[in-house]
């Protein structure tokens, strides 16, 4: 399979802080790659380097065969970049924002009208084209920002935490659009702190302290981790307080209404916890479950911290 975004030994330091540390990533053509990591992992710095907004200290990257250091102008024509803070003009209308971006990206006059109409329809904003960008809800702003970055039909889309502060309904709609773009041939590089979004990527890279800890498909990442214990009880908080004190438990954390437990020896931990729950009169059921991507993420980062 052909790779179209290739990051090789990329390093960027800010003073004493190494934000990106010898980073290597390969993204296959026509896929969605998710860069997943906690705050301060170096996700945004990586994005900015890819867009040639920052110069790396060492290493390089190429997008679609163009070198980010030597051919940044060519790259800019082929990428759409959506930063965390959408760069929209609040006092322009939806239509005017799109026209503005069409101008900046030098979209041919002939194609412009058709393209704008297509994007408005595509993002479900046709009815709102006369509204000022400031008057839009968070989800609509996000879709407008995306549309503005699609005006020049880029082959590569770089999205930096695009759905922060956007509600679940709008997030689902946004991802549907990303899937459609992928089907249309776009390669998407997206960073996110949300695991449900990471699961929708074809491949994810778990990033921490400027480095990639793991790159694989979400399914493979989950399968590489051994089963964890899931406790369902009437009082998860109390169950957690009890579990935390036990030596057989490496880690325990609330996961929605469930309590998730990581242990070296699951059978032993199950036995010892059931006894304890009985002692404290907590009604609970324990079973082994496959971890979710969020479980793997939390545990991988925590075990990195312990090192």
């Amino acid at each position: 399979m052909e790779h179209t975004i290739i990051i090789s030994s990329l390093t960027k330091k800010f003073g004493g802080l190494t934000a990106v540390d010898n980073l290597n990533i390969k993204v296959k053509k026509n896929t969605i790659f998710g860069l997943v990591g906690p705050d301060g992992a170096g996700k945004t710095t990586t994005m900015r380097i890819l867009c040639s907004l920052l110069t790396p200290d060492s290493g390089t990257a190429e997008i679609g065969g163009y070198d980010i250091l030597k051919e940044s102008e060519e790259i800019k024509q082929h990428i759409g970049y959506m930063p965390q803070k959408f760069s929209l003009y609040g006092d322009l209308t939806v239509m005017e924002n799109l026209e503005f971006y069409a101008e900046i990206y030098q979209v041919a006059k002939k194609e412009r009208e058709k393209k704008i109409e297509y994007l408005l329809k595509f993002s479900n904003l046709s009815k709102h084209s006369y509204k000022l960008a400031d008057q839009l809800s968070g989800g609509m702003k996000q879709k407008l920002a995306l549309s503005c970055n699609l005006i020049h039909t880029p082959k590569y889309l770089l999205l930096d935490e695009p759905t922060i502060g956007v509600d679940p309904v709008a997030r689902r709609e946004f991802w549907k659009i990303l899937f459609e773009l992928k089907e249309g041939g776009t390669t998407i590089f997206v960073s996110t702190p949300y695991m449900d979004e990471a699961e929708r990527c074809d491949e994810v890279g778990l990033m921490n302290n400027g480095r990639i800890i793991k790159t694989d498909t979400p399914a493979n990442i989950i399968n590489s981790f051994k089963p964890i214990l899931c406790v369902v009880s009437e009082n998860s908080h109390l169950a957690r307080d009890i579990s935390e004190r036990e030596d057989c438990v490496l880690d325990s954390y609330l996961f929605g209404e469930e309590l998730h437990i990581v242990a070296d020896d699951n059978d032993n931990a199950m036995k010892c916890l059931m006894e304890k729950f009985e002692t404290y009169n907590v009604k609970a059921a324990i079973k082994e479950v496959n971890p979710s991507l969020e479980d793997v993420f939390v545990n991988t980062i925590k075990s990195e911290k312990r090192k």
Binding site: G37, P38, D39, G40, S137, G138, G139, E161, I164, G165, V166, D167, P168, V169, A170, R172, W175, K176, F179, E180, E183, P193, Y194, M195, D196, E199, R200, P218, A219, H237, Y253, L254, F255, G256, E257, E294, F297, V298, I301, K302
Partner: protein, 318 residues
């Protein structure tokens, strides 16, 4: 049962826009109450009225027995408030921010040091006292902002979307702190649109366009609200499957959920038939099973239902 917050028929109209419409709810002392709703649903407006920062157009409310329209000075001294944008001074150190808030809230001099130590411990910020706030990561900043808002030992804590843009690990740590406070008897009212956070709450009010659509415990919401089944399907072609599923008559809605699809169906759906239907349309079905609705499913269900009603009203008006 003693209630820390009692709100009745609260309405706020800005010009012609009804931001909050006849909202009522009660929060028991020591409970964590979650206000759930999409952007622009009126969550922040309710919080501001409770704090007495804006006065309601109509309706009443009591916080710790004080009236929200007449006794707001008294209320404020018992409230800790953390806003979406943490109000920290970026160019002050962690320690200086805590000192500043201790001063603002008139914490007695003799108590400040003890209180500061407690907060640093709770927020896992020991050793970071002399760091400049702007150098802290998102999760630390968030816990410092929380610390600053509870330095005067408030009985009620109002948190307005406290975890936007914070990673899962930091969010867990934050909720551990909230849970400890609630155990000590602090009543917490938190707004969020993250469903996993709403799970931590004792009860939830679901707000949409200023109206409370549902008010219950997270578990009861999952059991009672959706009349039908949620089917989780994993396939090789998600988008095409969603389109196909939406055409089925016993399917209410289908959308992307994590790596799979969540299908909302009418009651008593036949899984074998659904699977056959997809296979006939050349979809490779990896797995199909009924699952318990998640809060996100409930959220989507309520919003779509409300939108349909609104659409009908709109057509009727035309």
């Amino acid at each position: 049962m003693e209630y820390a917050i009692e709100i009745e028929n609260l309405t706020k109209i800005f010009d012609k826009f009804t931001a909050v419409n006849n909202v009522g709810f009660k929060v028991k002392k020591g409970d964590v109450f979650g206000f759930l709703g999409p952007n622009g649903s009126g969550k922040t407006t309710v919080i501001r009225m409770i704090m007495g920062l804006i006065s309601p157009t109509s309706g009443t409310g009591k916080v710790l027995g004080y009236d929200i329209t007449t006794d707001n000075e008294k209320i404020r001294s018992h409230i800790g408030y953390m806003s979406q944008k943490f109000s920290l001074y970026d160019d002050l150190t962690v320690d200086e921010n805590l000192d500043f808030y201790a001063g603002v809230y008139c914490v007695p001099k003799g108590k400040i040091d003890k209180k500061k130590k407690e907060i640093l411990e709770m927020a896992d910020l020991i050793g970071k006292e002399n760091m400049i706030t702007s150098n802290l990561s998102g999760g630390w900043k968030q816990r410092l902002a929380l610390g600053c808002s509870i330095i005067h030992e408030p009985e009620i804590l109002l948190l307005d979307e406290p975890t936007g843009g914070v990673d899962p690990i930091a969010r867990r740590q934050f909720w551990d702190v909230i849970y400890d406070l609630s155990k000590k008897g602090v009543t917490v009212l938190v707004t969020t649109h993250y469903m996993d956070e709403a799970e931590h709450c004792n009860s939830i009010g679901f707000l949409y366009y200023g109206n409370i659509l549902s008010l219950d415990t997270p578990n009861a919401m999952k059991e009672k609200i959706i009349d039908g089944d949620i089917v989780e399907i994993k396939v090789n072609n998600t988008l095409k499957s969603i389109e196909l599923l939406k055409e089925k008559c016993n399917v209410r809605d289908a959308s992307v959920y994590g790596a799979g699809i969540h299908v909302m169906t009418k009651p008593g759906v036949n899984l074998i038939e659904l699977k056959e239907y997809l296979i006939q349309n050349h979809i490779n079905v990896i797995s199909i099973k009924k699952v318990r609705p998640t809060l996100e499913d409930v959220f989507i269900f309520l919003v779509e239902k409300e939108n349909k009603i609104k659409e009908l009203d709109f057509r009727y008006e035309l």
